[in-house]
Structures are given as C-alpha cells and as structure tokens.
C-alpha cells in the first residue's frame, strides 16, 4: 500500500512516500511564504521520483506547523508522535528521540512499539534551535556547512556567556576581537545550543538509546556537543530531516488499515 507523510517545517516542507514500510521517494521545498506552493513543489518532486500520481496514494498524513493547510491530507499527527513512530523503526532500541529543526526543539520518550510516553517542546526562544547556528555562522563569516567540521578542530573549550541569540551574537564578535580561533568559537556555539537542548530533554529523563533527528543532526559539531553533554552515545539516522515526514507516512500506513 502506498502512503505519504508531509512534514511542514519552519524552513522546509518534506514529503516521504512509502510502499508498505519501504521508502520509495522523498521530496522537499523551501517553506517560503506560501505553504501551498511549497507543498506542491515538494510533493511533485517526490511523486516524480516515485513515478506515481497523487491519486495512487491511499492515505496522506501530515505533521508540523502548517497542519490543516493541505486539502489532500486525510489527517494529522503531532511531530513528537511521528518521531516516536519513525525513530523506533529506524533504530529499534531508540527510546529518546531528540528533534531539532530550524526554529524548534522537541523530544519524545517512547516504548519499543514507537508509542509516545512523554514529550517536551522548547520554550519560546530560538537560542536552542538551528536558526541559532545559522545566525552565529553569519557572525563568524563561515559557511553553515563548515560550522560542524570546524568545531571538531577546536583546541580549547571557550565558555559562551550569553544565554540568548541577540547577546550571543555580540559575544561572538567579542570573541573574534579577542583573537579566539574560529574553531573554538564554533565549538562554543555548539556547546551552547546542546546545553539548551539537553536542559530541555532532562525533563523527560535520558533513556538510551538516544536518536538525534531533524535538520541540525546533519551538523557534526552539534552531534559531538550532544554526545559530550549527555555523556552517552548518540545515534543519527540517514537523512535526519526526513524523520518526521517518514513517521507521518508510517502513521498513514496504520490508519489506512484501520
């Protein structure tokens, strides 16, 4: 049976198409101002890759911030619910799944069947999400993709004093003026964001295995900081930003059978 999951992220819309539980295609598009265009672009990309037409999809489930805005989705699931479902499918031993996207961080604790037991979402501050790393990369005048590899080369831990994005930016400027190597600053930025995220996840309690998903999980600097901060091994699936969409498509499989 063919199902699809659509995840409305703050930055990108992601689509995953499943044949039973096997991923047959993915698509993504910048969220931009018009969600409808983004959904159309992302779904067309996925459909084209799968060689399918929209009406061949039995059930579509959506997740993310723009829920309800797509006429052809049958229903919706929360991101934490989708993450629990997909996370356990990708790593059967996963019990804590931490999802950090562009604007939000969230985490879910689940059982072996992928059912959610508890969840947390971050408070109203972007200092604990991907946009923070982007802003800091700009301040450092470094390509976003270089932030991670660069921070792995750090020679020293530099404390970041500022606790919010606005102050952090001026803090980075101060560090640059103080001739602090960029690699050390990059690590400080990753440590700061990991501290925010870990703080939040501690509300759930850390149950292994820990799986990192969402766009920020591409960033090896962040993954390294999380590992050090949590003091446990962390796992990252392939294409971590598609995990919520994959979870939604899995939920669609279940619901189509009901």
């Amino acid at each position: 049976m063919i199902t699809a999951g659509i995840d409305f992220g703050a930055k990108n819309v992601k689509v995953v198409i499943l044949d039973d539980e096997k991923i047959v295609a993915r698509g993504s598009a910048l969220t931009g101002f018009d969600l409808k265009i983004a959904v159309k672009d992302a779904s067309e990309m996925a459909l084209k890759a799968a060689g399918l037409k929209l009406d061949e999809i039995t059930h579509i489930t959506e997740t993310g911030i723009g829920q309800g805005s797509v006429a052809f989705a049958a229903d919706s699931v929360s991101e934490v619910g989708a993450n629990a479902k997909a996370g356990v499918k990708l790593l059967p031993s996963a019990r804590t799944i931490i999802d950090v996207g562009a604007e939000e961080a969230r985490a879910v604790k689940c059982d072996e069947s992928g059912s959610m037991e508890d969840f947390v979402v971050n408070e109203r501050c972007a200092a604990g999400a991907g946009a923070f790393v982007e802003a800091m990369a700009r301040a450092l005048e470094v390509e976003l993709g270089q932030m991670g590899p660069m921070s792995l080369k750090a020679t020293e831990a530099v404390p970041m004093n500022a606790q919010c994005t606005v102050f952090a930016e001026s803090e980075v400027v101060s560090l640059i003026h103080a001739q602090t190597p960029k690699a050390n600053i990059a690590r400080a930025i990753h440590d700061a964001i990991a501290e925010r995220v870990i703080s939040m996840v501690r509300r759930l309690g850390i149950t292994e295995d820990v799986l990192l998903v969402g766009g920020l999980a591409y960033d090896v600097g962040y993954v390294d900081s999380m590992k050090r901060g949590l003091g446990v091994e962390v796992h990252v699936p392939e294409l971590p930003e598609y995990v919520s969409a994959y979870g939604a498509a899995l939920v669609a499989q279940e619901r189509a059978k009901e």
């Binding site: 911030i65 829920q67 919706s76 699931v77 929360s78 991101e79 934490v80 619910g81 959610m116 508890d118 969840f119 947390v120 979402v121 408070e123 109203r124 509300r203």
Partner: protein, 432 residues
C-alpha cells in the same frame, strides 16, 4: 467533534451571576455617589474586616481586575505599555501590570476614569502583593495603605502564637481603618461578614465536590466565571445566596446526569490561572471530548475544604454548623484566620510535596486522566513548584501537558504552538 453521550444545557443561574459581577464593579465605581467607601486590595485580602465600617464599603480586588483587563486585549496592551514606560519590568506579575497600567492611564476597564480608592487594604503572601499596593499608593498620590503579613506557613504549623501574629496585625488594622476613614467600627458587622465568608467558601467547595460526578456537571471554563465571586466579595450575603442557588442547581444537574460537555470521554485538570485571553483552548479540547473538571486553583484559592471521615475532601464545616457563637472582635478575627490560612492553595507556597499530594488527591477523587500545567509567566506565585509537580505526576504515571503562557499578557502566549502541544497531549490521552 466526538459523539454526544450526555444531555447538556447552560446553567440557569448564568445571567444572575453575570449581573452580580457587573453590579460589583459598578458598586465600586459609584460608591462615592452614595457616600460610600472604596478600597482596593488583593483577592487574598481579609475582605471581611473592612466590612465592619459599614454596608456601603466596596472593594476592587486587583487580581480579578487584572484578569478583566486581560480579556480586553487592546486595553491590556495599552496598560502594559503604560506601566513599562514607567520603568517596570515586563516579567512582573501580569495582573499587577494590568492594574497599575490602568491606574497610570486613568482608565477603568469598565468605562470612565479609574476610580481612585480611599484606602488600600491587602495581605502579603507572594513576592508581589505588598509591593503592588505600595506602588499603587504612590501612583495614586499617596493613598493610605495597610498590609498584613500572612506568611505564617503551613496550616499544621498555624498554632496560637502564629495566629496571634496575624490577629494582632488585623486588630491594628481595624484601628487604622477607623482613623483613616473617620468611621466607627461595628463588630457585629464584622462577625456577620465572617459567618458569610465561611459559608460562601464552604459552599464553593461543595459545588466543586459535585464535579466528581461523571459526566461533570461543570467544566472549568464555566467555573472560572463562578469562583470569581470568592475573589471579589467572599464575605457578602448576596454571594452566600448566589452560591446556595448554584449548589442546588449543580446538584440537580448531577441527579439528572446533565453534563457540561456532552461528549465527555476524558477528564483533565489544570493548574494556575489560565491565559485569560485564550480560553478557546478549552473549547478545542472539548471537540475531542476532553473536559477540564477543575484545578487546585479553582477549587481552593477560595474554597474551604477538610478531609472527611471516608478520607476524601469535602466542604469544610462552618463555625455556625459547629455551633460556634462569635461574640467578640478578637474571636471573629481568630476564627477568620483559622479559616483563611487552611485554604489548600495557601499551602503550596511552602511545600512542593504538599502541592503535589493535593493535586494527586484531586486526580484520584475526581477521576482525572491527565493534567495540564500552565507554566504561567504572569504569576510566579502560583507557578512556584510547578516543575516539581510535573515530576510527581510523571512518577505517578499520569499524562502531563506542560505549556507556557501568561495569564494576562498575550504577548507571551502562542496559541498555535500551544494547540500543537495540546495535539500531542490528546495523542497521549488516546483521543486523537
């Protein structure tokens, strides 16, 4: 919308309540026209005490006023800007900011100029109460101000010595009231007000206790409009009368299985004041058959409770039911202090464990499936210990939804994000 299982109808007494509340704000505003007295103070104040000055003494309690301002989002925003412009931080108590902003603007949320009080009379239990009226007194050009320290701890520690500390302050307060207003104080009026307050607050507990029934005869959104009398005029005879009628009507709903929410399938409780401008969150829950049946806050900010013989909570036996004949000023104040300091919501200021225990009791006795904790940026007093309460529910295996917001400042509430979190909670409860 899930399937309707129960019959439902609005409360018959609704309009009477609405009129009573309007009357209250009008009585205060127009008190001077009839030679009466106006005072301002917190909802936690010993409001029965100024009643000894006469029947034409009207109060404006700050927290409910701040909530009324919050309902009017345009006015609330102006109040907040006005008080921030005076240098006050925006993370302060949202009620305080709404109230003081209204004073600075010299606008009453119900129309006209802000009615300046003749004196201020309050108590200090959180970090803001005493300072609130200190500032209000300054802003109003030095209105006489009296505040009673009630930080005497848990009710089990409220022995004679500690009670005396409170009662002595109240006795000084009565002398001060006489000097400030130039009126003679009537102890008989005080005694009657004490009887009224005990009866009204016990009745409110009785009404809340009826909400143990499935389906719940009242939902919390409705209860907000009803408990409010306990925060504005808990000592007045018209409230005793109103709560008696309400109790009878709720009993009738219980007897006839009339539900607040016809599709009730899961019961939750909340904690702290809600984000007043966004009560639609409750409506959203109801579309999935989830009904909030109350909270420690709605039950016991004013409700008077005791543990009954079967070990469950019930309305507290009033002094009049116990046959206690109050004859003197001092005795009246002692009875009132004993009554006031025992309210469950007062205990939470001193112990995280006590608050968790009380909330877990409500979960058990009111047959609750999940808990919504409002991390209320507008009130640090009632948010005290909230994270520890969350851990206690987690340990007890009860689904919890913590959500962040502000009771009186809409800039700090994100409806869409909260709805998203609610969706996850609904999944946890197995209804979505």
């Amino acid at each position: 919308m899930t399937e309707m299982k129960y019959q439902t109808k609005p409360l018959d007494i609704w309009n009477e309540g609405k009129a009573l509340r309007q009357q209250y704000y009008e009585n205060y505003a127009k008190a001077h026209e009839k030679g009466g007295i106006r005072w301002a103070g917190g909802a936690w104040a010993y409001s029965a005490v100024p009643a000894g000055l006469g029947d034409d003494v009207w109060s404006l309690t700050g927290e409910p006023y701040g909530a009324s301002v919050a309902f009017n989002k345009e006015f609330a925003a102006r109040c907040q800007e006005a008080i921030e412009a005076k240098g006050f931080a925006r993370d302060l108590c949202a009620y305080l900011r709404n109230y003081l902003g209204s004073v600075v603007l010299d606008e009453y949320v119900f129309g006209g100029k802000f009615p300046k009080p003749d004196f201020m009379w309050t108590t200090h239990i959180c970090c803001s109460h005493a300072k609130w009226y200190q500032i209000a007194s300054d802003l109003e050009g030095g209105v006489p101000y009296f505040c009673i320290d009630v930080s005497t701890g848990l009710i089990e520690d409220f022995n004679e010595r500690r009670r005396e500390y409170v009662v002595n302050q109240l006795l000084d307060g009565i002398d001060w009231l006489e000097q400030t207003t130039g009126r003679d104080y009537d102890d008989q009026k005080l005694i009657q007000a004490v009887y009224n307050e005990c009866e009204a607050t016990s009745l409110w507990a009785e009404i809340c206790a009826l909400n143990r029934t499935i389906p719940a005869p009242l939902d919390e959104k409705t209860m907000y409009s009803l408990y409010v009398f306990g925060t504005i005029i808990k000592h007045r005879p018209e409230i005793v009368d109103f709560y008696r009628k309400l109790r009878d009507e709720v009993q009738e709903r219980v007897d006839n299985k009339i539900a607040a929410v016809g599709n009730e399938q899961r019961r939750v409780i909340t904690d702290t004041q809600p984000p007043w401008g966004f009560l639609e969150i409750f409506r959203y829950l109801e579309t999935f058959g989830v009904v909030s049946v109350g909270s420690l806050y709605t039950f016991s900010l004013i409700g008077a409770w005791e543990v009954k013989d079967d070990g469950t909570w019930g309305p507290r036996t009033t002094p009049q039911e116990q046959g206690i004949d109050i004859t003197t000023r001092k005795q009246a104040l002692e009875v009132l202090a004993d009554w006031t300091h025992a309210r469950p919501e007062w205990q939470h200021f001193y112990s995280a464990q006590k608050k968790s225990d009380m909330m877990l009791r409500i979960v058990r006795e009111w047959k609750v499936d999940g808990v919504m904790l409002h991390y209320n940026r507008g009130c640090e007093g009632l948010s005290l210990n909230i994270a520890e309460n969350r851990l206690a529910f987690k340990d007890a295996g009860i689904p919890v939804l913590p959500f962040e917001g502000n009771m009186g400042d809409e800039r700090e509430f994100d409806l869409e994000r909260t709805k998203k979190a609610v969706d996850s909670f609904l999944e946890l409860l197995g209804v979505k």
